[in-house]
C-alpha cells in the first residue's frame, strides 16, 4: 500500500537542467503571462484556469511539497510548519538594484500562533497526515466537485464518504442529525411530535426549492402557494424556524448542523452574523442535493483520500497538462515593479534570476512592504480561527469511520458564541494507521482565548485523557442503549490561524483557508480573482478536461 504523506522526498534529485548557483535551476523561458507564487488551492485553481485559457504559466513554491497553507503534511513536520518565522520587514523600499526595475522585498506573514501540543506523538510519525485546512469536506453537489469534474482533476483524486453522517452535541449527549426524511423516520431519539414538526419543515423547504428551481426553468408559473413568502425569506432564519414551531433542539439541528451557521443565532450579536432564511435554505438545498448525488457515496459529504493536500496537486497537474511550468523548492524573494512603481512586472527568484510577467499572483502568506498601509486597516478587525487536531484511539460513533460532530453555540459553556465543528477521519482515508482516528476541530473567534477554551472543552467532552483508566469516563450516545467508553486522546495540537481575504489589484493575493466547513467561499473568491484579470475568459470551461485515449473510466468502490 502506498504510504500516506504529501511530503516529497528531500533527496537532492535534480531532474532538470543545470543549475546556476546553490543548485537552483535556471528557469527557461524567462517571461510568462502569469507567475504564481505558492501552490495553495486558490493558486492551483487559478493556475489551471489560466493554463486552460491558453496563458503561459510559471508556478513556483518555496516548499518541497504542493499545497502551501492548504497542504497535507506529515505529523513530524507539523510543528516546524506552524512555527515558520516571518521575515523582518525592511524599513524602506529597496533602491533599484537591477537595470530598470524597482525591487520590492517579499516577506512572509505570521499565519499561525499560540500553538499548544499535548501528549506524545505516536510512531511512526510518517503514517499520520495532518490537513492544515481541517475540518473541511466537500459536499457531493458543491462547486469544488464541479470544478474537479470540469478541469479533469477528478481523475487524479479519490474520495471516501463521511458515511457516519453528522452528530449534534446537545446537553452532554451526542444525537444523530436527522437530515432527510429517511433519517427522521429511522431516528430513535426523536419524539413523535418532533418528527412531525421537522418533517413538515423539510417538506415546506423542499417544496420551496422545487418551486424556485421550476421558476428558474420558467415552467412553474403560478406555483406561488408552494413558495416561502418573500418577507419570510429576508427574516433571520432563526425567526422563521420559530414561526414554524421548531423547538430549541430542532432549531439547533437546522441552524448549526444543516445550514452550518457559525455564530449564535439566538444571542445579542451584531446583525451581520445572523443568517437569513434565504441563506439557510440555500445551504439546505446544497445539503439535500448532495445526498445520493453519487451512487457510491453515502451521505452528504466526501473527503479526499490522503487528505486535502491532494486537491491543489490535482489542479496543478491539470495546469501542467496544459503547459504550465512547475518549480518546487523555489522561493520568491522579491517582486519587480516598473520604474514608476505602478505595475508589478515580475518576480525575483532566490537564485537571483528575474522572471517577467503580465500578472503576478501570490499566496496569502506573502506580503510586501507596500502592504503596510492596508495592513493598518486590516489589523483593526483581524479574523481568526482556532483549529485543533487530535489523534484518538477509536471512533466516537461505534461502527463508523468518518463522522462530523457539531457543538452548537453555548452547548459547551456560556461564553461559547460560535459553533465548534469536529470532523473525525479514519484509516480508510489513508491518513493514519488502522485502529486510530484523526479529529479536526475549528471555531471562528474574535476572542482567541475563548475560542481556544471552547476547542479544548469540545475535546474534553468527547475524549478521555491518556492517563485515565478508561473505566470511569463515559460518553452518553443517545442512539444506543448502553454507554460507550470515551475514545482515548493520544495526542493533540491547538493553534490559532489568521484569515485574510483575497485581494485584486496590481498584485493579486489569494484567500487563506477560512473558518467554513467547505470551499464555497474560497472558490467564490478565486473565481472573482480570475474574472478581475481575465474578464473575457471563461473560468475553467466545461471542456477543460483533456481527452483521454481509450478513456472508459468507471467508478471504483
Amino acid at each position: 500500500m502506498a504510504e500516506a504523506g504529501a511530503d516529497s522526498s528531500n533527496a537532492a534529485v535534480d531532474g532538470g537542467g543545470g543549475s546556476v548557483q546553490n543548485d537552483y535551476p535556471t528557469i527557461d523561458p524567462t517571461s510568462f503571462d502569469v507567475v504564481l507564487c505558492g501552490t495553495g488551492l486558490p493558486e492551483s485553481v487559478l493556475a489551471a484556469a489560466c493554463a486552460a485559457a491558453g496563458k503561459t504559466v510559471l508556478h513556483v513554491d518555496p516548499s518541497p511539497f504542493y499545497g502551501s497553507l492548504y497542504s497535507s503534511i506529515q505529523l513530524s513536520s507539523l510543528a516546524s510548519f506552524l512555527s515558520r518565522e516571518a521575515t523582518p520587514p525592511t524599513s524602506t523600499v529597496a533602491a533599484a538594484a537591477s537595470d530598470w526595475h524597482t525591487v520590492v522585498d517579499l516577506h512572509r506573514r505570521i499565519v499561525y500562533s499560540e500553538v499548544e501540543t499535548s501528549g506524545a506523538a505516536p510512531e511512526p510519525a510518517r503514517r499520520f497526515t495532518i490537513d492544515l485546512v481541517g475540518p473541511r469536506v466537500l459536499y457531493c453537489a458543491d462547486e469544488a466537485v464541479d470544478l474537479l469534474l470540469r478541469s479533469g482533476g477528478s481523475h487524479h483524486v479519490e474520495f471516501k464518504s463521511v458515511e457516519g453522517g453528522s452528530l449534534l452535541y446537545w446537553e452532554g449527549c451526542l444525537y444523530p442529525v436527522p437530515d432527510s426524511r429517511q433519517a427522521i423516520f429511522k431516528d430513535t431519539t426523536l419524539k413523535l411530535k418532533e418528527k412531525n414538526i421537522l418533517f413538515r419543515f423539510f417538506k415546506l423547504v423542499q417544496a420551496h426549492i422545487a418551486a424556485a428551481s421550476a421558476s428558474a426553468d420558467e415552467t412553474g408559473q403560478g406555483d406561488a402557494p408552494a413558495r416561502i413568502l418573500e418577507e419570510d425569506l429576508d427574516l433571520p432564519f432563526v425567526e422563521f424556524l420559530k414561526k414554524q414551531g421548531l423547538p430549541p433542539k430542532m432549531r439547533a439541528v437546522v441552524l448549526y448542523a444543516i445550514a452550518m451557521a457559525d455564530y449564535n443565532q439566538d444571542g445579542a450579536d451584531p446583525c451581520e452574523k445572523l443568517i437569513t432564511t434565504r441563506e439557510g435554505i440555500d445551504t439546505i438545498a446544497l445539503y439535500s442535493s448532495s445526498i445520493g448525488r453519487f451512487a457510491n457515496a453515502e451521505g452528504t459529504f466526501i473527503y479526499p483520500m490522503y487528505g486535502h493536500g491532494e486537491l491543489p496537486q490535482a489542479f496543478c497537474r491539470c495546469a501542467a497538462v496544459k503547459g504550465a511550468i512547475y518549480v518546487l523548492r523555489m522561493p520568491v524573494v522579491a517582486l519587480l515593479m516598473d520604474e514608476e512603481k505602478k505595475h508589478f512586472v515580475g518576480a525575483r527568484l532566490v537564485s537571483g534570476q528575474d522572471i517577467l510577467c503580465q500578472q503576478l499572483i501570490i499566496d496569502p502568506s506573502y506580503k510586501t512592504i507596500l502592504d503596510v498601509p492596508f495592513d493598518g486597516s486590516d489589523s483593526h478587525f483581524p479574523r481568526k480561527v482556532v483549529r485543533g487536531v487530535c489523534i484518538i484511539s477509536k471512533s466516537v460513533k461505534q461502527g463508523s469511520s468518518n463522522v462530523l460532530v457539531i457543538f452548537p453555540p453555548k452547548s459547551l459553556e456560556e461564553q461559547q458564541v460560535t459553533a465548534v465543528r469536529l470532523l473525525q477521519l479514519s484509516s480508510n482515508l489513508a491518513v493514519c494507521p488502522p485502529g486510530m482516528f484523526m479529529s479536526y476541530l475549528s471555531t471562528p473567534c474574535t476572542d482567541v482565548s475563548v475560542g481556544k477554551q471552547c476547542i479544548k472543552k469540545a475535546i474534553d467532552a468527547l475524549y478521555s485523557p491518556q492517563a485515565s483508566d478508561g473505566s470511569e469516563d463515559h460518553l452518553e450516545t443517545a442512539s444506543e442503549s448502553t454507554e460507550d467508553v470515551k475514545p482515548t486522546l493520544i495526542w493533540s495540537c491547538v493553534y490559532v490561524q489568521e484569515i485574510t481575504q483575497g485581494t485584486a489589484g496590481p498584485l493579486l493575493s489569494c484567500p487563506m483557508p477560512d473558518e467554513y466547513l467547505d470551499y464555497r467561499n474560497i472558490l467564490g473568491s478565486t473565481k472573482k480573482l480570475f474574472a478581475s484579470i481575465y474578464a473575457d475568459e471563461e473560468f475553467l470551461p466545461k471542456k477543460s478536461a483533456p481527452v483521454y485515449a481509450n478513456d472508459d473510466s468507471d467508478s471504483a468502490e
Binding site: 531532474g15 477528478s154 487524479h156 439535500s288 442535493s289 445520493g292 457510491n296 512547475y326 523555489m330 467508478s555
Partner: protein
C-alpha cells in the same frame, strides 16, 4: 472491478519517469497509438493514456500517467507515484547524463512508491547505435543490482516497445496482488441519474 465474459481484467497504474527529452511520451505514443513524432516539445496536453494488453487468458488494462512536464524541475507531486503498480524509468542511450539522472529517479521511486512496484529501466533511442554513449552492459548490471528489469527500446523504430509493456504485464499477473482495499471513490460524470431519487427521498 469490471469483468468481461470469461476474461479477467486487471487494472494497473503505470508511471513514466526520466529526464526531459529521454523520450517518455514517444514511448507511450508508440505503444498506445503506434505513432512517432520527431522533435516533440516537452510533454503537453496529455494526462493519461489507456491501453489494454492481452497476456494468455488474462487482460491488463494500463492507465499510463505521463509527467506533464513536471519532472523538468523535479516537481512531481506525491499523487503521481501513489498506487503505481509499475514504473518505467527512461533514459537516452546517447546521453550519459540522462542515465545518471535515471538512477536518481529509481532512488526517488523507491523512496516514494511502495515496495511492490514493478520497475523497468528503458534505454531509449536504441536505433541511434552510432551515437551510443551508455553501454548496454552497464545499464543491465545496474538493473540487476537494483531489482529492475532492463530493455533497450526505440520509440522511433518500435524496437522492444510492445515487449517492455508486455513484460510488465506478465510480471503483474505473476504477482497477483489483491486489489487494494484502500481504493476510494472516483467522481464521474453521471450525477444526474440519482437526482430524481434524491429529491423524492426528501420530499
Amino acid at each position: 472491478m469490471a469483468a468481461n465474459a470469461g476474461n479477467k481484467i486487471r487494472n494497473a497504474k503505470l508511471v513514466l519517469l526520466g529526464d526531459v527529452g529521454a523520450g517518455k511520451s514517444s514511448l507511450v505514443l508508440r505503444f498506445v497509438k503506434g505513432q512517432f513524432v520527431e522533435f516533440q516539445e516537452s510533454t503537453i496536453g496529455a494526462a493519461f493514456f489507456s491501453q489494454t494488453l492481452a497476456v494468455n487468458d488474462e487482460t491488463v488494462k494500463f492507465e499510463i500517467w505521463d509527467t506533464a512536464g513536471q519532472e523538468r524541475y523535479h516537481s512531481l507531486a506525491p499523487m503521481y507515484y501513489r498506487g503505481a503498480a509499475a514504473a518505467i524509468v527512461v533514459y537516452d542511450i546517447t546521453n550519459p547524463a540522462s542515465f545518471t539522472r535515471a538512477k536518481k529517479w529509481v532512488q526517488e521511486l523507491q523512496a516514494q512508491g511502495n515496495q511492490n512496484t514493478i520497475v523497468a529501466l528503458a534505454g531509449n533511442k536504441a536505433d541511434m547505435l552510432d551515437a551510443r554513449q551508455v553501454p548496454a552492459e552497464e545499464a543491465k548490471a545496474y538493473a540487476q543490482e537494483n531489482g529492475l528489469f532492463f530493455m533497450e527500446t526505440s520509440a522511433k523504430t518500435a524496437i522492444n516497445v510492445n515487449d517492455i509493456f508486455y513484460e510488465i504485464a506478465k510480471k503483474l499477473l505473476q504477482g497477483q496482488q489483491a486489489p487494494s482495499p484502500q481504493a476510494g471513490m472516483v467522481l464521474n460524470q453521471r450525477p444526474n441519474e440519482r437526482t430524481v431519487s434524491s429529491s423524492s427521498c426528501c420530499s
